[in-house]
Every structure is written in C-alpha cells, then in structure tokens.
Symmetry: D2
Subunit: 136 residues, 4 copies
C-alpha cells in the first residue's frame, strides 16, 4: 500500500484542501478533510466540488490497490448524488472497489459529515465511478 | 443577472481556486480558471475535482438564471466524463440549461483546456447535472 | 406493500419482458427475469436496456415503499455500470433506498446473473438512481 | 455503414420492441420506435427502460461508426435524465460521438417524442454514455 501513500504525497490538491489519507486496504481507501471557511459555496456549506474531489480520490486509490504494480489510475467518469447539505466539522470519504477488471474498475464511494458536538455521522453524498488502469 | 454575480462573490471556494465568472446569459454561464501548481493531482494535471467544481458551478448558475427571483440552486447530482488529461494554461467551463422545470432543471456542461502558445482548445470534460430550485 | 404489487400488475412492459416481482420490503424490492431469446442484443447477451429496465423498476418501487400513501414515483435519472456480459438463465435485480427525502429519494440497485448448472451468481450491473415523489 | 445495419439486424431486442434504424452517419445514429401498449409502465407512458434501450443502442452504434473495422462495441456505463413523460406516437433517439478514443468513446444521446396530430417534438430524455471498443 506504500504506492498509494507515495502517490498521495505528490497530490498537491489534496494538500491544498487539507485532506488526509487515513486508511488504505486492498479495495478500500478512506480520506478525511476538516471543514474550512475557504472551501464553501455561496450558502456556507462545503462545496460539492470539494466533496467530489475527496471521494473521487478515495475511489481512484481504492481501484489502484487492486491494479498491477506500475499501473497508474485515471478517472474515466463518475456520478455523485448529494443527499444532504455538507454541514459538519469533519468529512470522511470512503472509496471501495465493486469490480476490478483488467482495464476498467468500477468503484463506489460515500461521504459522511461528522459534527464534533454530537459525534453524529450524516451520509451526505454517494458516488459511482469508473477508473482506468494505465499500464506503462 | 446581478444575483448570479452577487452569489459568485460569496462563493469562497471559487476565490480559493482563482476562478472567475466571465459570462452570464439566460440559460448559460461561463467560468474560467487558470492553471495553478497547487490544484494538480499526482500526475501534475489539474485535478478532476477542480474541473468538476468549476463546471458544476457553471451548470448551477446557468440553472439559476432561469429560476424565479428569490430561488436558490442546489446540485442534486451530476455525472462527468473526463475525456483528455486536464493539461493547459486556462480552463473554460460552460454550463447550459437543457430543460428548466419548476423543481428540477437539467443542465449540460463542458470544459475546454486552452494552451497559450497554440491557442488550441481541447474538450476535456463533459457533464450532465440535475439542479434543484429551493424556493423560500 | 399491496400498492407495489397492484402497481406492478398494471406495468405492461414488465409482463412483456416476463419479469416477476419476487420480494417487497420497506426500502427494498427484488424483481427477477428469466433469459429469453427475444431480449438479446447483437452478441446474444441480455440487452443492457433490459437489465436497466428491471433494476430501474426495482429502484423505483423501493423508493415508493417509503413514500406517503397516494404518492406516485417517477424516475428523475439513473446511471448504470455494466460490469460483465449479461449471460445466465435468470437475472435478479435488487433496488434499495439509500436516502428517502420528501421530494427526492436516492436509490441503489444491483443485478446478478444466475446460471442454472452452477448456481453461481455474477454481479453484472450496478445502478445509482434518483426518484421523484409525485404527491397528488 | 453496412456493419451497423447488419449488426442491427441481429439485434433481437430491437425487433421485439419494433425499433427501426433510420439513419447512420459517421458519429451519428438515429433509431425510431412507435408507441405500443405493451411497452408502457404503470402510468401508461413508454417505460424509461424502453427509452433507455433505444438511446443506448443509438449511442453504441454511433460509437461503432468510428471504431476500426472488426471492432465490437460494448456499453461501459450510461446516465440518463428523464425530462418529461414519454407520451407520444413516435419516439426518435439520436446518438452522437462526443469524443472517440482508442479504447473508450464518449457519446451523447437525446430522445424526442412526436405526436401525430400536432407534429410537435418534445425533448424527453438525454443520455451521456461511455462505450468500449472490443478489438478481436
């Protein structure tokens, strides 16, 4: 799983957003991002684009855990449903492999908003994404 | 179209990314974002999440241009295909209304990468998105 | 759950395809369809459109189980990934509610192909769909 | 374009539905289907699955027109928005290539409902789909 953490280190936008890779297993990756005032949209909620960025990255790396050594992962496409406003102190994005193929891997992702006071988790977004294995 | 520009001003994440609203017409909105080193993924291309953020915002505001005064727009869901690496100096995202309904508006978006030297435009991403009109 | 079975009875296209409603619970519906020679595409596999039809219907009825009495369900949009050729003797589509809202319900669906000989299940398609509650 | 018409002939489900291939050009395919009572859902409208089937087929064949000789086309995934009830006498599905790649082709599709009396066209659905070239 070292290649995932090494790749994440090179991922400038993850650092710009303050996102952290918190778990990597075969077929599953978790990324967390704390709320920040400069990441919101016009209503003061975390921008759908930020939510999408972290769950896309989690799905991409989940796919990469099951690709051959030396492969790189590229997002072909994804679809996201936003189910509740992105309100909370911490956002946890989990990406999982649904089916790993030679060229294409189908993944599924979910984002949860956590509020510090209540420790309640709210399921705010769900993604279905297709990843491509670029083999050198 | 003043409400679009006013709303965009309050949109912190657009400023964080350095995105600018460059055109607003009824049913169509254009947002531009210059390349920046801190917005890239692990291969040095603009992150799919950044591309998605600007085209989602363009689609959302395109929908808002045709919603009643006082309405606010929320993204229900979107789907994006990434067709070429996001390589270029400037990225132009255009969002258009396909069908405006009372509650839901279907929009379509495209992102083009422009390289300063060559002035060539490359079509790098296409989005289909559903927007919700929140009427107070 | 009677309203689901009554609605399914009126659903001419389900009968045309030979599909059967085999389970209805709150938030989950299962529809099965046997393979038939007149439902295939050019390579002899069950057409993606047939697979989509049954899982869309399963997702729509799953959403309807959690809508108020008198409501009708309409599909806003869906996205399907086809993960393996639709080869088998029986196809089982399961639709589940991810989040039920007042107006919109997000659902998730899966289709499995079963081969009589081997009794093996293959996961051939996965759907993410948005349903609308039309309340009279 | 002969390979498209030959492939369409072998496409049993298109015949079952009564669909006809009415135009084939490089990068664009049109399929038409008349309304029929046995293709409706519970409200008497053409089933979303039928609408999807014809536009998926139009998009797949549009992609195939730009694939190398001997290639076969498989749907990776699609997303469809249903924008108005499928009410009409004839439904026309048009599929177009957005970007043709070596392995993957991105397509866009639209479905229009036509009413005989009024000759009015209504735009009822829009699709964004990814097609895969299987090269022997």
């Amino acid at each position: 799983m070292q290649r995932i953490t090494e790749s994440f280190e090179k991922h400038a936008f993850m650092h710009t957003l303050g996102a952290k890779l918190t778990n990597v297993e075969s077929g599953e990756v978790v990324i967390e991002i704390p709320f920040r005032d400069d990441l919101v949209q016009q209503h003061g909620f975390l921008h759908a684009g930020v939510v999408t960025t972290v769950v896309d990255t989690a799905c991409g790396y989940a796919a990469l855990t099951q690709m051959p050594e030396g492969a790189e992962v590229v997002t072909v496409e994804f679809k996201v449903n936003f189910m509740a406003p992105a309100v909370g102190d911490l956002f946890v994005a989990k990406g999982s492999v649904v089916r790993a193929g030679k060229t294409l891997t189908v993944t599924q992702g979910d984002v949860y908003a956590i509020t510090n006071d209540t420790k309640k988790q709210k399921h705010i977004a769900t993604m279905q994404a297709t990843m491509f294995a670029v083999v050198a």
